[in-house]
């Protein structure tokens, strides 16, 4: 199957189907950017986690996936943005097993492990922006 080239991906997240769309578009982008299967799946899984959190906690938001360069490094960045309730204690949210939804509590800490760089900007009432980057080896 031939795929049209994807330069960057911006998906509004409002439903489960959007989560799947963001994931598969991000996957294509990473594939085209020369990532191997394992890394591609890691990036796709990270997108799933962040998109699902948007849906679950903020109800809507967006995922932007694009290629990034820094010096001689080249990679893919995933930005998850929402205007939801925000995360009151980012340190706590990043602990394995912490969940306000009685879930596994692995989404954020796990995504941090899946990616090379990970940053959360969030405060109660002012939404959440999470940026995660994976560099190509």
């Amino acid at each position: 199957m031939s795929r049209t080239p994807v330069d960057d991906v911006c998906v509004a997240i409002r439903s489960d189907a959007d989560v799947v769309a963001a994931r598969s578009l991000g996957r294509s982008l990473a594939e085209q950017h020369g990532f191997g299967t394992t890394d591609v799946t890691m990036i796709a899984t990270a997108i799933s986690e962040l998109a699902r959190n948007i849906l679950k906690y903020a109800h809507e938001g967006e995922i932007v996936v694009e290629t990034v360069e820094r010096g001689s490094m080249s990679g893919v960045s995933v930005v998850a943005r929402d205007d939801g309730p925000g995360i009151p204690d980012v340190g706590l949210a990043l602990q394995d097993g912490f969940s306000t939804a009685n879930s596994l509590g692995l989404g954020l800490p796990g995504t941090r492990r899946l990616m090379d760089e990970f940053e959360i900007v969030s405060a109660p009432g002012s939404g959440t922006v999470i940026t995660a980057i994976k560099w190509r080896r």
């Binding site: 799947v20 299967t37 890691m42 899984t45 986690e49 699902r52 596994l104």
Partner: protein, 329 residues
């Protein structure tokens, strides 16, 4: 479930696609469509009335010169009917009162066009044609006063763009409804629980595994486990497009519930890279008894159930005629 499209009742068409009076007012503001425009359009009633037949005839002649569109209007009666509607449509542009009823009428037109499969480009082409025709008429009507002609044209442009917005919304709305109906249908395809042999079940999961689906599936599985007193259940997730911690969580819960019912669950179909991603996320895959593929899963099940698969040895001749059955007496 009914897979057919529901017919939207004409009266609440606008409301049903979220076009309340506030939204409509906002659209008009965005197009800077105001009372002056209404007045100018009303002032063009004579013009449209006089030329409606010529314009519509010219339009269909134009439309039918394209083989792609002739196929929509093979039936001459349909063609006459549609022309009649278009004439009403055309005159209605200059009859003022561009509110709820006007909008409903426009939406209905959009919905008819979508239903007969008229491509959006033809739909847009129709508006472009009207604009060209009316521009020519206005220039004729106001010789030496291009500014006046232009103002009228301007007002008409706004109204037609308003209509186009409504028509396109209707197209999108209908498609979305079709997609939603299909999604429901896919969702409702109950996941089959297959009995491979006595006390061994296989559940192939296809599609997105969200909370409600996972619950439905677990219920179904637990019922099958009880009915067949299953000892081993294989959950095959090859067909699940997005496996992440949420899906892993659903699977873990299904595994746990099955265990409480006395059945051991084996999860198959996680590719190596997905398994690795899940482990990196922090999911304990040992709890899922993850085995690469369905075949491997069945082998593991055989081990648990103490079955052995042995190839038939050709050197031992098959018993063709066992003679009279000693039991039969």
């Amino acid at each position: 479930m009914a897979a057919t499209r529901q017919r939207v009742h004409a009266d609440d068409l606008a409301d049903s696609i979220g076009l309340g009076s506030e939204e409509l007012a906002m659209r008009k503001r965005f197009l800077e469509f105001d009372d002056d425009d209404v007045q100018r359009l009303e002032g063009m009633y004579g013009l449209t009335h006089e030329h409606v037949d010529a314009v519509i005839e010219a339009f269909y002649e134009h439309l039918l010169s394209f083989p792609e569109t002739t196929s929509f209007f093979r039936d001459p009666r349909l063609l006459e009917h549609v022309k009649g509607r278009q004439k009403n449509y055309f005159i209605r542009l200059t009859q003022g009162d561009y509110d709820h009823d006007y909008v409903t009428d426009r939406l209905r037109l959009g919905s008819i066009h979508e239903r007969i499969g008229l491509p959006v480009r033809s739909f847009l082409g129709m508006y472009a044609f009207y604009l060209r025709q009316i521009a020519a008429l206005l220039v004729q009507e106001h010789p030496g006063d291009p500014e006046h002609a232009f103002q009228k044209f301007h007002s008409l442009t706004k109204l037609l763009f308003f209509d186009i917005g409504l028509g396109v919304d209707m197209y999108i709305h209908q498609r979305e409804r079709t997609i939603a109906v299909q999604q429901d249908a896919i969702r409702e395809l109950s996941t089959p629980v297959l009995t491979i042999r006595d006390r061994l079940l296989v559940l192939p999961i296809i599609g997105i595994l969200d909370t409600s689906r996972a619950q439905q599936l677990t219920e179904e599985l637990l019922r099958s486990i009880r009915e067949s007193r299953a000892q081993v259940v294989i959950l095959d997730v090859t067909g699940v497009p997005a496996v992440d911690s949420a899906v892993a969580n659903h699977l873990l819960q299904t595994v746990e519930a099955s265990r409480l019912m006395g059945a051991q669950v084996i999860v198959t179909g996680l590719s190596a890279s997905v398994a690795q991603a899940l482990v990196t996320l922090g999911v304990d895959l040992t709890k899922l008894n993850a085995v690469g593929d369905l075949q491997g899963g069945i082998e593991v099940a055989n081990g648990i159930m103490r079955y052995q698969v042995v190839a038939i040895d050709d050197t031992i001749p098959e018993v063709v005629d066992a003679g009279p059955d000693p039991e039969a007496g």
